[in-house]
């Protein structure tokens, strides 16, 4: 009972902070926290399949793209669509798809989840590295389809003028919701089965875990929230194009979950915040720099060099990341109990 009360209090406080932030922060800082929120949603759901279930996959850019396009197509008004599709006339289906924002988000998430379901059949026939490469291929295929179906996606030009419904109230509360769902999943029967699969798949099978079912469940849950995150991203940016959904997006998410600890949702949250602000603070790396009186000129991409080195160093020296595969509450609990033992 006490636990529930604490939870409710925490949620209320964080919702209060979100509403306050949304109305009091300036536009620049608000866009940073919005970005962090969206990346947190994506990274939390990515961590479910990668960290908790241990199925190393590289597809989030595909699911995010699906969610983004679905949501965008649903919320762009019909007249705008007719003007926007410049390459070919939009397919009739596209014009008919109209919905309000929550339903559009949900549609994006569900389409992603459906795609995950279809994909799980070929994908979970293989383990380990093969899984990584097949899912990587899936991300590529989605982008190639987005490029080559101008009647549905407006091709390489992408969709513009997406209504900006996604303010920090939406993004922040969905971030909290995603976090709560992930925590709930981790401590559920399915979550324990996922961890069992991660630690030793053969042993999990021997214990009677239906590994295919559990993996598909993890994959679909992850895809659902990635789709919703994609929808928020589309509405937040108000313009999307296939080039936004390259492997780079997955790479950012990978860095976030690796630094936070594969399998730790609290770690992912902390790491998303750190990386989000870090990307802003490290912007100076891309600009002109003067080293020993020598002007190096602008060098876009320097930030990514730093981030890839950061990823490699984390893997070499601190493989468990910030919190390992445990949640903050577990770590605090084990600390306090060890203290008690010492006394």
């Amino acid at each position: 009972m006490k636990g529930i009360l604490i939870k409710i209090a925490l949620i209320t406080v964080s919702l209060g902070i979100i509403w306050y932030t949304n109305s009091h922060l300036d536009i620049y800082n608000l866009s940073i926290v919005n970005n962090i929120g969206i990346f947190a949603i994506l990274a939390l759901s990515y961590n479910l399949i990668n960290g908790v279930a241990g199925q190393f996959s590289l597809e989030p850019n595909g699911f995010v793209a699906i969610g983004a396009y679905m949501t965008a197509i649903f919320i762009i008004p019909m007249d705008t669509k007719i003007d926007m599709y410049a390459l070919v006339d939009p397919a009739p289906v596209i014009l008919q798809m109209q919905a309000n924002f929550p339903i559009a988000l949900l549609a994006g998430g569900l389409t992603s989840a459906l795609m995950a379901f279809l994909l799980s059949v070929p994908v979970f026939r293989v383990r380990g590295d093969y899984l990584a490469i097949v899912t990587l291929g899936f991300g590529f295929i989605i982008r190639i389809f987005a490029m080559n179906s101008p009647a549905y996606t407006n091709g390489a030009m992408g969709l513009n003028d997406i209504p900006e419904f996604a303010d920090f109230r939406w993004i922040g509360s969905i971030t909290i919701f995603t976090f709560l769902v992930m925590i709930h999943v981790i401590y559920s029967k399915y979550g324990r089965a996922m961890k069992a699969i991660r630690d030793d798949e053969d042993a999990a099978v021997a214990m009677g875990v239906n590994t295919f079912k559990v993996k598909t469940y993890a994959f679909m849950t992850s895809a659902f929230f990635e789709g919703i995150g994609g929808g928020l991203l589309a509405s937040f940016l108000s313009t999307i194009a296939p080039d936004q959904f390259t492997f780079l997006l997955t790479f950012y998410l990978l860095i976030i979950i690796v630094l936070g600890g594969l399998g730790s949702m609290t770690g992912t949250l902390v790491s998303a915040i750190v990386i989000g602000f870090g990307l802003e603070w490290l912007r100076f790396l891309d600009d002109n720099m003067t080293i020993f009186g020598y002007d190096t000129g602008a060098h876009p991409g320097m930030r990514m060099v730093v981030f890839s080195i950061l990823l490699i160093i984390t893997m070499l020296f601190a493989r468990r990341g910030l919190f390992g595969d445990r949640e903050l509450s577990d770590i605090l609990k084990s600390k306090s109990s060890s203290k008690r033992k010492n006394v």
Binding site: P122, R125, V126, Y130, I133, F140, F251, L254, L311, M315
Partner: protein, 297 residues
């Protein structure tokens, strides 16, 4: 499609397939020994092409520049192994994969910072870019050179693998690294040889690619590398001849599907992954592959 067009496309397919094959061999050898998908392998190909560019812009004649390019990518390949992969030999496989992705991104962005993201014209000498007419078929010289060099290299790799002591050590490593170490083989040295050999082939593939599509950019290795990996899986990962076969199948498919159905041209880059998914659905060990747990070359 008349006969001369068919012949033209056949020749194009052979040359594209050869490039995939050269890069696929490196994937398959590293996977065969370490069970690691070397994500950075496609970027090693890019590194090779860029070193040739750098060397010839410093005034080196083309053959020497090629030599410099190959040497450079061999060094980069061995260094990635020593710095990033070697400390993780005993670590879970996911850590290795993530590190490989990190290396891949590092190389791409480092070259992006050093050379800029704008595609550069590749300084191919004129005697390599000429083409001649054979009946109605126009043959660029490279289309002839590439398959011949590929076959020679394949012969060389097979000779190393099956006729030399090093090859025997490589094949033994593919079965069981700890036991091979107990036999007194310096496993790290042999693994360096594997990385060096694979990187050299990737550099050759990259140089061919750069001559055929005469521009290079820091991200050129991503798609080609992934396709070559798909080719390696198609042929049966761990099998060198399989990798070559897979490379040719992929090359032919891309050329012929686009030639016959021009509407599908935009989807060209997706074929490799459809292949990959179908192979994994129907025969996960690929065409020439044996039991995945006991890969041999």
């Amino acid at each position: 499609m008349d006969f001369s067009t068919f012949l033209q496309q056949l020749v194009n397919g052979i040359s594209l397939g050869s490039m995939y094959a050269l890069i696929a061999i490196g994937y398959t050898m590293v996977y065969g020994t370490l069970r690691l998908i070397n994500f950075a392998h496609g970027d090693i190909m890019m590194v090779g092409a860029f070193f040739v560019y750098l060397a010839s812009s410093m005034g080196l004649p083309f053959p020497l520049a090629v030599l410099a390019g190959i040497t450079g990518s061999v060094l980069v390949g061995i260094m990635t192994d020593k710095i990033a992969y070697k400390p993780l030999r005993e670590a879970p496989k996911i850590s290795l994969l993530i590190t490989a992705i990190g290396i891949s991104f590092f190389l791409e962005n480092l070259f992006n910072v050093l050379f800029g993201g704008v595609p550069k014209a590749f300084p191919a000498p004129e005697y390599l870019t000429t083409s001649f007419k054979l009946g109605e078929v126009i043959l660029p010289l490279m289309v002839i050179v590439i398959p011949i060099v590929t076959v020679l290299i394949l012969g060389g790799v097979l000779w190393v693998l099956y006729k030399t002591k090093y090859g025997m050590a490589i094949r033994a490593l593919a079965f069981d690294i700890p036991t091979v170490k107990l036999m007194g083989v310096n496993a790290d040295y042999i693994i360096s040889i594997v990385f060096g050999l694979g990187s050299a082939l990737a550099a050759v593939g990259g140089i061919f690619y750069a001559i055929s599509y005469p521009s290079i950019d820091p991200l050129m290795g991503i798609i080609v590398g992934l396709k070559a990996f798909a080719a390696a899986v198609l042929g049966g990962i761990g099998s060198v001849t399989g990798a070559v076969l897979g490379g040719f199948i992929l090359g032919f498919t891309e050329i012929f599907v686009v030639a016959m159905f021009p509407d599908l041209g935009g989807y060209k880059d997706a074929f490799a992954f459809f292949f990959l998914i179908f192979v994994l659905l129907l025969r996960p060990t690929g065409i020439m592959g044996e039991d995945l747990d006991r890969g041999r070359f």
